[in-house]
């Protein structure tokens, strides 16, 4: 009798461990992406739009903390806050009142700054139609296995987003740009987050597959800012991004939080506006999509099982290497 119970226990243990392995293997393959990119855009300039820059820089910090390297982030900011004449604390951009957190830091890498943040450059980055002289850091070099996070913030309206007080991008243009990205297989899955007034209008016209969108307010509603700092004199962040950041602070690279939790960020009681989301174009179920699939950069790894047996001796180089010492430093071409 005891043998039977022991056998049952043992077999259930085996079953459980095999399911675990299967699940881990399944997790490996379920997302289908091998690298992550982020395009973070702040579309406003001028001192009173301080909060938009702080929004974007806070998302930038979270994304970097969760593992996406600078080479895979395209950051577009007007970048006129830190060194603005009206900034009482130069070289800083704060996101919490009482100056708790300086999001500007000393390792912020802005790819498009100042007057380079235009609709044209944004669309060129997305579609890849950049002039050949553009350096690598200003390009979105994604492939068909890249998950891309796109974050836009600024002033918007019903169907458009204002860039630097001088031009606009419409939701039709944005949808067409995403379709061109899909045609050229420049993404595997794309998460689009927008924190502007009437933000939901910007994702109404999407029609390409594998897009998920989140917005801070519905059509007809305004997104509101969070808290002013009396020393700096402006509002420091927007509500939706503030609560989004609080949510992201609990995420670490190995966490298993999924998108359904992200949709619940900033309910109406906190945000005053009603955040919206759109998942009908997304092929996977949002409950199975991890937040780190877009915000982090968890690499897939495989153990190298085979090696090649090399037996020949290293050929000695003549002429140019005879002058070198053994230590190789720097880049050797």
């Amino acid at each position: 009798m005891e043998m039977l119970t022991l056998l049952c226990l043992f077999s259930t243990y085996l079953l459980a461990s095999s399911i675990n392995i299967e699940e881990n293997a399944g997790q490996f393959f379920s997302s289908g992406h091998t690298n992550n990119w982020a395009v973070l855009v702040c579309t406003s300039r001028f001192w009173f739009n301080y909060r938009h820059v702080a929004n974007t820089l806070s998302v930038y910090r979270s994304v970097k903390r969760l593992g996406i390297p600078d080479s895979h982030i395209v950051l577009m900011l007007a970048d006129d806050m830190a060194c603005n004449h009206r900034n009482p604390k130069p070289a800083t951009v704060f996101s919490h009142k009482n100056m708790e957190l300086n999001v500007y830091g000393d390792d912020v890498e802005v790819d498009y700054r100042g007057y380079e943040v235009t609709v044209e450059n944004f669309l060129r980055v997305l579609t890849g139609r950049l002039p050949p002289s553009t350096p690598r850091s200003k390009r979105l070099l994604s492939d068909d296995r890249s998950n891309i996070l796109i974050y836009l913030t600024g002033h918007g309206g019903n169907g458009f987003l204002k860039f630097q007080d001088s031009e606009e991008i419409s939701n039709v243009e944005l949808a067409d740009a995403f379709e061109q990205m899909w045609q050229k297989r420049r993404y595997n899955e794309l998460l689009f987050i927008i924190d502007t007034c009437q933000g939901a209008s910007m994702y109404e016209r999407f029609y390409s597959p594998n897009l998920m969108a989140l917005a801070s307010s519905q059509v007809g509603e305004d997104s509101l800012s969070h808290q002013p700092d009396l020393a700096i004199g402006v509002h420091l962040m927007d509500r939706y991004t503030f609560y989004l950041l609080e949510f992201l602070e609990d995420i670490h690279p190995a966490s298993k939080t999924n998108m359904n939790d992200l949709f619940k960020v900033c309910p109406k009681s906190h945000c005053v506006s009603t955040p919206g989301h759109r998942t009908d174009l997304f092929l996977r179920d949002p409950g199975s999509v991890l937040v780190t699939d877009f915000f982090g950069s968890v690499r897939k790894v495989e153990l190298t099982m085979e090696t090649i047996n090399l037996t020949g001796h290293i050929k000695q180089w003549e002429e140019s290497t005879s002058l070198r010492t053994g230590r190789a430093r720097g880049i050797v071409a």
Partner: protein, 584 residues
């Protein structure tokens, strides 16, 4: 003096019969007014409207749209030439009379409604020559392979299968098929299979085996459909095929390979690695052999004080430090931020890192999920590169004076990196069927038939990608009427179409080298056309904005013209009515 009130408008209905010249002046004036209005209207309609149309038209050069439509329906035919050579003792004299014999086999596959594949195998059966018989008399299969290679070299994309009798000592007991380093294979058939059969029966009996050899050494349906993934979004097959498709880099005209040595503890270890010599001796032969597929550039660097993002755990039973498989995923990100890359090119980068653990955390071993040590002590990440951990604690004793000079054994390191490089480039080392023995790949790191397989899948991938690019570009330009199509774009598109047609034709006739070259040209031209900076469509205007722009310009001009035209028409109608009344 006739009253000419029929020419007068309704307002001036009082006939001024007395002053005829006054009337004539009014008539002439009115006529002049009508003529003026009519001529302005004529100028506006016949000159102004076409001028406005032409000046606001976007310049669109001619594109070969019909040919692009044809290309969207892709019909690929892949041909392989196979030679089956019967050595002495494998065929009876009656069977031998019918040789040499040529057979052609076709296989059709429909992938989806726009893509069809057909495979053609042209098999030539013949007997071995005297020199080949001598070569087959060598003691081992590897030597036989070498001496056969010196006799004749098979062209790219073709195969030769030598059929050897059961009694032959070339292959070990349980092995039926040996796949050599070049393009030859040895197939052993049983003695009882040939007695009392006709040649056709023998060939039919051998066919499954030959087919298996072809699947391994030449293109296989799974590889080709995987290469078409740009065109066809297939539902994922088994987990292995998904992993394979995610691991290898996509086809690109060039790749950059970077070797990095990470030394977190320069105070203890002074590391010397002869990277130039090692890269030249071990890696460069592979890259030279892969030259038809892509260009490669190599660089190397040394990073000091670079640590892994994960702290290893101490395993007291073996008194070593361990990294288990789950924590490996978090190793790469902190390091990646410090690796540079060439700012000038947009080619994909393959990173190979050699990590020498610091003295306090040596030796460091990687454990798999079953807690066993991984023999190579290395791991790789799909589409990124590989990392190897190299322990140096054996090189010095406990009383050594720090920093210790250490020479790294580059042969061992490069053996691992070469294996990882092969995996990342898509040189498939799929598991061979049972009874097969595959020769190790040799100093070049790549067997000839592996290169052929890579070339087949790259050609198909390039053709598929280029056709998708061109068809989607044509669709895009058709949909959005506002994009300017310059002459250089039209030129690129035409040259891409021509190269594509040539590539498909060369694949059909079995010239693999030319097919790959044309497919590379096609993909370069199509990418250049698609990503041309001038094709930016910034010209979306909602209808209400269009009205808002044109109305203030045209309305003030058109209102007087329209009103005078209406007046002319109403005058003419009035005249006709009066004439009618007069007749009555």
């Amino acid at each position: 003096m006739r009253c000419v009130f029929s020419l007068l408008s309704a307002e001036q209905s009082q006939p001024v019969c007395q002053n005829a010249s006054f009337i004539m002046k009014i008539i002439v004036k009115r006529r002049r007014g009508h003529l003026a209005a009519l001529s302005i209207a004529a100028v506006v309609i016949m000159v102004g409207v076409p001028l406005w149309w032409r000046t606001t038209e976007t310049y669109r050069a001619w594109l070969p749209v019909s040919q692009i439509q044809e290309l969207s329906k892709l019909q690929l035919q892949l041909s392989a030439d196979v030679e089956v050579v019967f050595s002495r003792g494998t065929v009876t004299p009656e069977q031998q009379k019918k040789l040499p014999l040529t057979q052609t086999q076709d296989e059709e596959h429909r992938v989806d409604e726009d893509t069809a594949l057909s495979y053609r195998y042209e098999t030539r059966y013949r007997t071995a020559t005297v020199m080949e018989e001598d070569a087959l008399n060598q003691p081992t299969a590897a030597e036989a392979d070498l001496s056969l290679h010196t006799l004749s070299e098979s062209p790219c994309g073709s195969l030769v299968v030598y059929v050897i009798p059961e009694s032959s000592t070339l292959l070990p007991q349980d092995v039926d098929v040996y796949i050599g380093r070049r393009r030859t294979a040895f197939l052993r058939i049983g003695a009882k299979m040939r007695v009392g059969r006709t040649l056709e029966q023998l060939l039919a009996h051998m066919e499954p085996r030959v087919k298996q050899v072809l699947q391994v050494m030449s293109f296989s349906h799974t590889d080709i459909t995987a290469a078409l993934s740009d065109r066809v979004r297939l539902s994922p097959g088994n987990k292995e095929s998904i992993a394979d498709s995610m691991r290898a880099f996509k086809s690109s005209p060039g790749y950059e390979i970077t070797f990095s040595l990470l030394n977190p503890d320069p105070k203890s270890h002074r590391l010397h690695w002869d990277i130039e010599g090692a890269a030249q001796t071990y890696i460069q032969p592979l890259l030279t052999k892969l030259a038809p597929v892509a260009n490669f550039s190599m660089d190397s660097q040394t990073l000091y004080y670079a640590v892994l993002g994960v702290s290893p755990r101490f395993d007291s039973s073996r008194s070593t430090y361990t990294l288990n498989a789950d924590s490996l995923a978090h190793v790469i990100n902190p390091v990646e931020a410090r690796l540079g890359s060439n700012a000038a090119s947009s080619n994909p980068v393959l990173n190979f890192l050699l990590y020498v653990p610091d003295a306090h955390h040596s030796p460091l071993y990687i454990h798999d999920r079953k807690k066993q040590e991984v023999p190579s002590n290395a791991f790789h990440s799909p589409r990124w590169g590989g990392i190897m951990v190299y322990n140096v604690n054996d090189f010095y004793g406990p009383e050594a004076v720090f920093p210790v000079d250490i020479n790294i054994d580059m042969a061992k390191v490069m053996g691992v990196f070469l294996a990882q490089l092969r995996l990342l480039l898509g040189v498939q080392s799929s598991s061979a069927p049972p009874g097969f023995l595959v020769a190790p790949c040799g100093t070049a790191g790549l067997a000839d038939w592996e290169l052929d397989r890579l070339m087949w899948s790259r050609s198909v991938e390039n053709v598929a990608t280029a056709t998708t690019t061109i068809t989607s570009l044509a669709q895009l330009l058709d949909q959005i009427g506002n994009i300017v199509i310059n002459d250089n774009i039209a030129e690129q598109v035409s040259s891409a179409v021509t190269s594509l047609q040539l590539a498909v034709a060369e694949l059909e006739s079995g010239n693999l080298g030319f097919a790959l070259q044309y497919s590379k040209e096609a993909i370069l031209a199509s990418e250049r056309a698609f990503f041309d900076p001038s094709l930016l469509h910034l010209l979306y205007f909602p209808d209400d904005q269009k009205f808002a722009i044109y109305i203030p310009l045209f309305l003030p001009m058109c209102v007087p013209i329209l009103l005078s035209l209406l007046k002319i028409i109403s005058d003419a109608r009035q005249k006709r009515r009066d004439k009618q009344a007069k007749k009555d």
